[in-house]
């Protein structure tokens, strides 16, 4: 099976940030491979190690995104595609989906694998958009993948249970990080990644209409999340504080 995994560079959610006049100020150097995409790469590697095939990754992002691609190559992916941007475009999921669909339209693959959402925006839209643009059967929020007779069997987390879905190939799947623990690249992997091919492309190479890429969903400003009122902390003899809080839930908070 041939996998192409779509990976994104995202800001590290643990990095300190400031909001000034509605603008978000963060250390632009602190970026990571989106955790959900790392799980997608991991699962593709596990499945190809078991059933044969290979794994390539594609990433749309600024020059710095080459680090994100290297990370996936160090995990074990064979090849990377870097669709370079300036980094100052106001792209949304729909812009990325159009670029990816146009990139993928002349590629060969059995399975396109995505993260179920970006860790920084939690949008969760790009995978479904690409599936529709390429007219592929798809499943989202996968927590387990298996290959059976050239079919992809997806265990997806639904609202009240897990759905087992069988997809013919070619198909698309979006992955939850609940599916595995992505491997940490070892030294050998890191060394090997330096010799692996990364093909660099630009959005205009792909013949995408730049005006159609203008985001339809625009963040106009950021604000801090309203802080919760300071609570009370109870320390001391367990039975006493347990009783005290139970009482307060009744008389003060009125939630019993």
């Amino acid at each position: 099976m041939k996998f192409i995994v779509s990976i994104k560079m995202v800001p590290d959610v643990y990095a300190p940030f400031q909001i000034k006049d509605g603008e978000l100020l963060m250390d632009g150097d602190r970026t990571v491979l989106n955790a959900y995409d790392a799980s997608a790469v991991e699962e593709a590697l596990v499945l190809t190690e078991k059933h044969g095939g290979d794994v390539e990754v594609v990433c749309i992002g600024s020059a710095k995104a080459s680090e994100t691609i290297r990370k996936a190559l160090a995990m074990g992916a064979a090849k990377g595609y870097h669709i370079q941007t300036n980094g100052d475009e106001t792209y949304d999921s729909s812009s990325y989906a159009q670029i990816l669909a146009s990139f993928l339209s002349d590629k060969e693959y059995d399975i396109l694998s995505f993260g179920k959402q970006s860790q920084d925006t939690d949008s969760g839209l790009t995978g479904g958009m690409v599936a529709q643009l390429l007219n592929l059967p798809y499943a989202t929020n996968a927590v387990g993948l298996e290959i059976e007779d050239n079919k992809l069997v997806v265990k997806r987390q639904g609202d009240s249970g897990q759905e087992m879905i069988e997809l013919p190939t070619p198909c698309l799947v979006t992955c939850s990080n609940d599916m595995n623990e992505p491997r940490i690249p070892n030294l050998k992997g890191i060394m090997a990644s330096k010799r692996k091919p990364v093909e660099s492309l630009s959005v205009s190479d792909l013949g995408v209409d730049a005006t159609a890429l203008e985001a339809v969903s625009k963040v106009t400003s950021y604000e801090p999340v309203p802080a919760r009122a300071a609570g009370k902390k109870f320390e001391g003899e367990p039975e006493e504080i347990a009783r005290e809080v139970a009482q307060l839930l009744d008389t003060e908070a009125n939630v019993l």
Binding site: F17, G124, M129, V143, E163, P238, I241, L249, L256
Partner: protein, 324 residues
């Protein structure tokens, strides 16, 4: 006249309360701006829910029925929503942000060439443009977002709006959608339902959530007992769904469910941002943790520092007494 269309989701034979929250909000927007408020139900027995839906102010309800809509499948849902969009021509389609919605929102936006914004915590609509707020960066930051398009699709986090009855007599319009095997391509083999607990976390008034501190059967039994005394749903952190101690459907947080009950009791949960992203909007938060410096205490209204094995038995007894 612009129309706001709310997709009313049905799950396990019940209307999802979160979709009625969205419908209630759409009704207020429609009334304020002189727009029409309509709804769509897509289910094997869609018509049987119209009476309950019209209580929330929809003036027209589209129904799509048939065996193909017995269980969630993205192919059939997409086809039905595409058809209803054609018939209703709404300016905005609003959804509750369920896993079912998340499964189709991106594909539907691409199919309809619509504007889209997912998982908002509030929104407004002026007839052409949606302004919304959505949590970002693991819910550490709020983003103000503008979205245009025709239509615009919006999905809303559960608990963002209160239910507001607004009885109207709705015109019911049945829309025929035939789903052929070519529409589906994917085959739903089976659904492995969550066992035991039947309280839907998105609708629960109270939730008792267990974390890694809940180590053995004894602690699990205490969690179950507390939940039963409070008539609460049971939730869990990723530490416990990952290790199989609780069903994955019960995971709360960035990867799991977003909940906002009246009362949330976090037991043995440290309060990682990816967990609090899913519960920080609960009305009253109680945390029980033996580590006085656990980050969960920063957002807890009532923080109990102590060993859960010592705290819970008395806590449960005391609540029982109060309840009687």
């Amino acid at each position: 006249m612009s129309t706001l269309l709310t997709y009313v989701a049905i799950s396990d034979g019940k209307i999802k309360r979160s979709s009625l929250e969205v419908l209630s909000h759409c009704k207020s927007i429609a009334d304020a701006g002189g727009m029409a408020c309509e709804a769509v139900i897509i289910d094997e027995n869609a018509t049987s829910y119209t009476d309950d839906v019209q209580k929330y102010g929809a003036s027209k309800i589209y129904t799509v029925e048939g065996d193909a809509f017995k269980q969630h499948q993205n192919g059939s849902l997409l086809k039905a929503l595409t058809k209803v969009n054609e018939v209703a021509q709404p300016s905005l389609i609003a959804f509750a942000s369920t896993e079912g919605t998340k499964d189709v929102l991106g594909a539907l936006a691409a199919q309809l060439k619509a504007g889209v914004v997912a998982d908002v915590s509030s929104f407004n609509f002026d007839g052409t443009k949606v302004t919304a707020q959505r949590p970002m960066m693991a819910a550490k930051i709020m983003g103000n977002v503008n979205v245009t398009g025709n239509p615009v699709l919006v999905s809303v986090r559960s608990g963002s709006y209160d239910l507001k009855e607004n009885p109207a007599t709705a015109e019911v319009v049945s829309v025929d959608v035939t789903v052929e095997s070519g529409d589906l391509r994917a085959t739903l083999r089976e659904i492995i339902s969550a066992t035991g607990d039947t309280i839907d976390l998105n609708e629960a008034e109270a939730i008792v959530a267990a974390g890694r501190g809940v180590k053995d059967e004894e602690a699990k039994a205490l969690i179950s007992e507390l939940a039963s005394v409070l008539n609460a749903g049971i939730g869990a952190s990723r530490a416990l769904t990952e290790s199989g101690v609780y069903d994955p459907s019960l995971q709360i947080g960035q990867t799991g469910k977003v909940v906002s009950p009246q009362l949330y009791i976090a037991v043995g949960i440290s309060g990682a941002i990816q967990h609090t992203a899913g519960m920080a909007n609960s009305k009253v938060i109680v945390a029980i943790n033996k580590d006085a410096d656990a980050p969960i205490f920063e957002i807890a209204d009532y923080g109990i520092v102590g060993d859960l094995y010592k705290i819970l038995p008395t806590f449960i007894e005391e609540i029982k007494k109060i309840k009687n």
